[in-house]
């Protein structure tokens, strides 16, 4: 499998007042392979979100290289980075961050129209398809105030996928959702991953992390451990579907929890 993303020796620190530099990333190396579904865990302040924003080009590391599809993006100019995010990457957030004054449908197609790689008719068609796939077709014309949190996160996922990005980044995508909505979103992400999209999530929820194939554990700005859980397979999709799948999921979760405990989480 090809490496989609290869980060080497990433360093980043934030300045808190004069002469008070707080390192957040220290010589971080990480790779993501095509089609992988990985998660980064760690306590608050361990640097996991910073890692995410530095490898996706929203923020720039102080030093180190980030190869995205074999291209170093750390030194790309602002416009190129924007293009990359628009066309090749998708993002989902904890606070879904939809534009309040656009309808749900318009929120989804916005990046599609901006990218100008497809005709607007095509973008509309793809949006309808995605909404059907995520089960929110009936919301198309609504304002974003007329939908539940789970539904809005589905809108967020549709928006992230509108330009068919190779990779999807998620920052605590289920953090603001209740457990059943969270289950549904994870199942959806697993399905998207199986269809070929690489996914990287940042989370502190063991339940979420246990659905991914590989878990990186961060502490004090370093990746300190890595756990390969292997393909989740059908179990990842509807864990509550049968007693068997639920039990399998539970086992996987406990397995991860035990490992994390070992790492000092």
């Amino acid at each position: 499998m090809n490496t989609v993303l290869d980060a080497q020796k990433l360093n980043k620190s934030y300045t808190l007042g004069k002469g008070n530099e707080q390192p957040v990333l220290r010589d971080v190396d990480m790779q993501i392979k095509e089609g992988e579904f990985i998660s980064v865990m760690g306590p608050s302040g361990s640097g996991k979100s910073t890692l995410l924003y530095n490898i996706c080009g929203m923020d720039r590391p102080d030093s180190g290289t980030v190869l995205f599809q074999n291209r170093d993006i750390a030194g790309l100019p602002e416009r190129e980075l924007s293009r990359l995010r628009l066309n090749e990457m998708g993002f989902i957030f904890q606070q879904i961050h939809l534009l309040k004054n656009l309808s749900i449908f318009d929120n989804i197609i916005l990046s599609g129209y901006q990218a100008r790689t497809r005709s607007r008719m095509e973008v509309n068609r793809r949006a309808e398809e995605l909404m059907e796939r995520t089960g929110i077709t009936e919301l198309a014309g609504n304002d974003i105030t007329q939908a539940s949190g789970g539904q809005l996160q589905r809108v967020g996922i549709c928006r992230a996928l509108i330009n068919e990005p190779g990779i999807l980044f998620g920052d605590e995508p289920t953090g603001a959702l209740n457990s059943s909505a969270s289950e549904e979103i994870m199942a959806l992400l697993a399905e998207i991953n199986r269809a070929g999209t690489t996914i990287m999530l940042v989370t502190h929820d063991i339940k979420v992390a246990s659905r991914t194939e590989r878990v990186l554990f961060m502490m004090d700005g370093r990746i300190v451990a890595e756990k390969r859980l292997g393909a989740a397979g059908a179990a990842a999709e509807q864990v509550t579907a049968t007693a068997a799948t639920a039990a399998a999921a539970k086992a996987r979760e406990e397995h991860l929890a035990a490992w994390l405990l070992e790492q000092g989480f």
């Binding site: 979100s49 924003y53 996706c56 929203m58 923020d59 602002e78 416009r79 924007s82 293009r83 990359l84 995010r85 628009l86 066309n87 990457m89 993002f91 957030f93 904890q94 606070q95 961050h97 939809l98 534009l99 309040k100 004054n101 656009l102 309808s103 749900i104 449908f105 318009d106 929120n107 197609i109 916005l110 990046s111 129209y113 901006q114 990218a115 607007r120 509309n124 014309g141 609504n142 304002d143 974003i144 105030t145 928006r159 920052d171």
Partner: protein, 778 residues
């Protein structure tokens, strides 16, 4: 004090907004106080000049022999005159033709093409004194000359400069303030010399004119006196003028600049109010939750309101006071022309307070309007404020103008336009301010263009022609005039010409009182005039009146008035009304047979055959037709309205600068607030992959579409209402229907481009701040 602490904290938190609002309030206070000061100074200095100079109350100009005895006898014996005349004298004025006079630093350029009637006089004995720049009665030694300040301004002269008349050279020892003839719109100028020099000059120049001057006991009975004088068989071959006319003429030059300044200050005040409204609403919106909390913990509405009101009280007071103080520093510049023309007079203490009062008025308006806007607090419910935690703004529906319906517009342009339409209430204020900016800029520019254009002559009561030849009443002019006419008739370079004769008739009023009326007669169809109402007079019982004259006499087209023509009463029908700012705005035209005894002046308008040199012809004519004055129309306007045009040009430059500065400040302020409000939105789009350029395009679309709306409205408004406003201003001087002469390139391309550039650059610079807003939107 807690309240003051809150106010201070608030100022610090919103520094730039506070500074902008402060600036606008200060500027409007500055201009209003400055304008008020100008009014006070103007009135006081004109009064002072008139008093120091002991200005005449009634003056009859006359060319031809004068029997002083007869006038004095009349003044002693006539019942009205005996009662009213306090003092009288006859001043002799020696007319010097412009081609013999070299003022320009004694240099080589003569006054040949000047439209001024130049006379040399000696100082009067007891009244109508000519004063120096210290308002002292000028006393000259032989060899010295006093030069009217009109020439000081024109040529930038200095005391001691030489002045040449023919082959005699004099040294300029004083600049003359002349209560009667100061302003440029008065086409007569008096030079002062020592009696000995006067005798020498009168050997060389032979033409004299007389000023028969009276000081009255009761100025209010001027009308009565004037009628009595004209009824008597006394010299009256020349215009009759009085102190009321002197006053108007003197106030005119500065009056126009004054009117523009006051207009400007009112507009700025409007902008300050809009800014206030905008910032107060934005603050309320921002502090919505805080206000809810204050309400929830039991503070009364009034308490909360006072917190906010206190802020604007402090802001308004300090800005208005600063404006007033700055105006004190600026006053010398604004009043420089007044000081030069009339001298600076001590202003009574009570009147000194007027500019301060004007600044106070600005303060009161600020506080009152803030209080009014703050009434909105009543509508904030504590529960609602706490629950929604923001957006007092009406919720914006996403269903409106869906993006998916847009087929061709660029996404960013579409989003920008959509935002404008959606937040129309918020953006409306900006459109209004841009509208004001456009208005502030366009009105003076249009007006300046109009007053400088050759077609402005139609407001001077004359038809449009290439050239004018003027002959004033003087000895032998009756014979000279036909000679000039026939010479012009035979000149093959002249395409067409029209001789016009202005002579004095008597108007009989309803109550039987008689008053003199100067009427121009001739063929009015050759160089036609624009009429406001009705048409030119065609039959010999028709008359056209100037706007101010018609208003004074209360006549409309179709009405009649009675004239004495050749000793007989004749009923004349008013055929039309035209605009005229010359001669105090009071002139008339009728095709009547003139009586050569009563002729005041002759004019010949002419057009040259295309290709003929105007310059050469002017030179040729002024040599050939001495003592006639030959001017082209532009020169005529420039010399008549030169001072006014100069003042207006200065004001126009200020207005354009103010307009552009306001647009820049407001755009910067507005974007600052807008970006603060849209910060999440911008961050979301940045994270989705919208480049800085795309986001800039959205905001540029917003500001430029608002600007376009503002400019369009401002242009439309200026061309309609603005035109009427300027007409209203000029109606006091005799032109009540000014039509702007618009230079389309300037008005519809350059000025908008200037604003567009200013606003675009400001937008781009303001937007560059969002470089710091990146994906970190947790």
């Amino acid at each position: 004090m807690l309240l003051l602490r809150i106010v201070r904290r608030d100022f610090l938190r919103k520094k730039s907004v506070t500074i902008v609002v402060f600036t606008f309030i200060m500027l409007s206070a500055l201009l209003l106080a400055g304008g008020a000061n100008l009014v006070v100074e103007l009135t006081a200095s004109i009064n002072a000049l008139f008093e120091e100079a002991r200005a005449s109350h009634f003056v009859q100009m006359h060319s031809g022999p004068v029997d002083r005895e007869a006038i004095e006898t009349w003044a002693r014996t006539d019942s009205t005159a005996r009662e009213l005349v306090k003092e009288m004298h006859v001043q002799e004025m020696l007319t010097v033709d412009g081609s013999s006079l070299f003022i320009d630093g004694g240099g080589t350029v003569s006054e040949e093409n000047s439209i001024m009637d130049i006379s040399f006089v000696v100082q009067n004995e007891s009244f109508d004194w000519l004063l120096d720049l210290d308002n002292q009665v000028i006393d000259l030694a032989p060899g010295e000359v006093g030069v009217p300040i009109y020439y000081l301004q024109r040529y930038d002269l200095e005391l001691g400069d030489p002045l040449r008349v023919g082959d005699a050279t004099y040294s300029i020892a004083a600049f003359v303030r002349d209560a009667q003839m100061n302003p440029a719109v008065v086409h007569s100028k008096r030079f002062l010399v020592h009696p000995a020099d006067y005798r020498v000059l009168s050997e060389r120049f032979h033409e004299v004119e007389y000023l028969i001057e009276f000081l009255l006991n009761d100025v209010d009975r001027l009308g009565e006196f004037s009628a009595a004088y004209l009824a008597a068989d006394l010299p009256q071959r020349g215009p009759t003028v009085d102190i009321r006319l002197f006053r108007i003429m003197n106030a005119l030059t500065d009056g126009i600049a004054l009117a523009v300044i006051i207009l400007l200050s009112l507009l700025l005040m409007g902008i300050a109010m809009l800014c206030l409204r905008f910032t107060i609403l934005a603050t309320i919106e921002e502090d919505y939750r805080e206000i809810g909390v204050m309400k929830a913990i039991g503070l009364s509405r009034r308490d909360i309101r006072n917190v906010y009101l206190m802020k604007y009280l402090v802001l308004g007071a300090s800005a208005a006071l600063t404006g007033y103080l700055v105006s004190l520093a600026l006053n010398p510049i604004l009043t420089s022309n007044i000081t030069l023309s009339f001298g600076s007079a001590p202003v009574p203490g009570l009147l000194r307070a007027i500019p301060l009062g004007a600044a106070g008025l600005v303060f009161l308006i600020v506080v009152a309007s803030s209080a009014m806007i703050l009434r909105r607090f009543h509508r904030i419910s504590a529960v609602e404020a706490l629950r929604s935690g923001g957006a007092g703004e009406t919720p914006r529906s996403g269903r409106f103008l869906p993006l998916r319906r847009s087929r061709f517009l660029d996404v960013n342009v579409f989003l920008g336009l959509r935002d404008v339409v959606q937040r129309v209430r918020l953006f409306g204020i900006l459109v209004l301010i841009f509208f004001f900016c456009a208005f502030i800029i366009i009105i003076p520019v249009h007006f300046l263009g109009t007053i400088q254009s050759p077609s402005f002559v139609s407001y001077l009561g004359i038809g449009r022609s290439d050239m004018r030849v003027d002959l004033r009443q003087s000895e032998g002019i009756g014979e000279r005039f036909p000679e000039v006419v026939s010479a012009i008739k035979e000149d093959p370079d002249v395409e067409r010409f029209s001789p016009l004769v202005t002579s004095r008739f008597t108007l009989v009023q309803e109550n039987g009182e008689e008053e003199p009326i100067a009427i121009e007669s001739g063929d009015f169809s050759i160089f036609p005039l624009d009429y406001m109402h009705g048409t030119a007079p065609r039959r010999d019982d028709e008359i056209a009146l100037s706007y101010l004259y018609a208003r004074d006499l209360g006549r409309d087209p179709g009405d009649t008035l009675v004239l004495l023509v050749g000793g007989e009463q004749r009923e004349m029908t008013v055929s039309g009304i035209y605009q005229d700012v010359t001669n105090g705005g009071r002139t008339a035209k009728a095709p009547l047979p003139f009586d050569s005894e009563n002729v005041l002046w002759y004019t010949i308008s002419l057009d040259l055959v295309p290709g003929t040199s105007l310059e050469a012809k002017m030179h040729q004519y002024s040599q050939a037709f001495y003592p006639a004055r030959v001017t082209d129309l532009e020169g005529y306007i420039a010399q008549t309205l030169g001072g006014t045009i100069g003042q207006l040009r200065r004001v126009t430059i200020i207005a354009v600068a103010v307009g552009v500065a306001v647009a820049i400040l407001i755009t910067a302020l507005f974007l600052k607030m807008l970006i603060a409000r849209d910060i999440t939105r911008i961050a979301i789009m940045r994270s989705l992959g919208f480049s800085l350029r795309s986001i800039r395009a959205q905001y540029l679309t917003m500001t430029l579409s608002l600007l376009a709306a503002g400019i369009a409205a401002g242009t439309l408004f200026s061309n309609t209402v603005g035109q009427r406003l300027v007409s209203l201003l000029w109606s006091f001087m005799g032109a009540a229907r000014i039509r702007f002469v618009i230079d389309p390139l300037q008005a519809y391309l350059l000025l908008p481009l200037l604003l567009v550039t200013a606003v675009s650059v400001t937008t781009v610079l303001s937007i560059s701040r969002i470089r710091q807003i990146n994906g970190g939107i947790q």
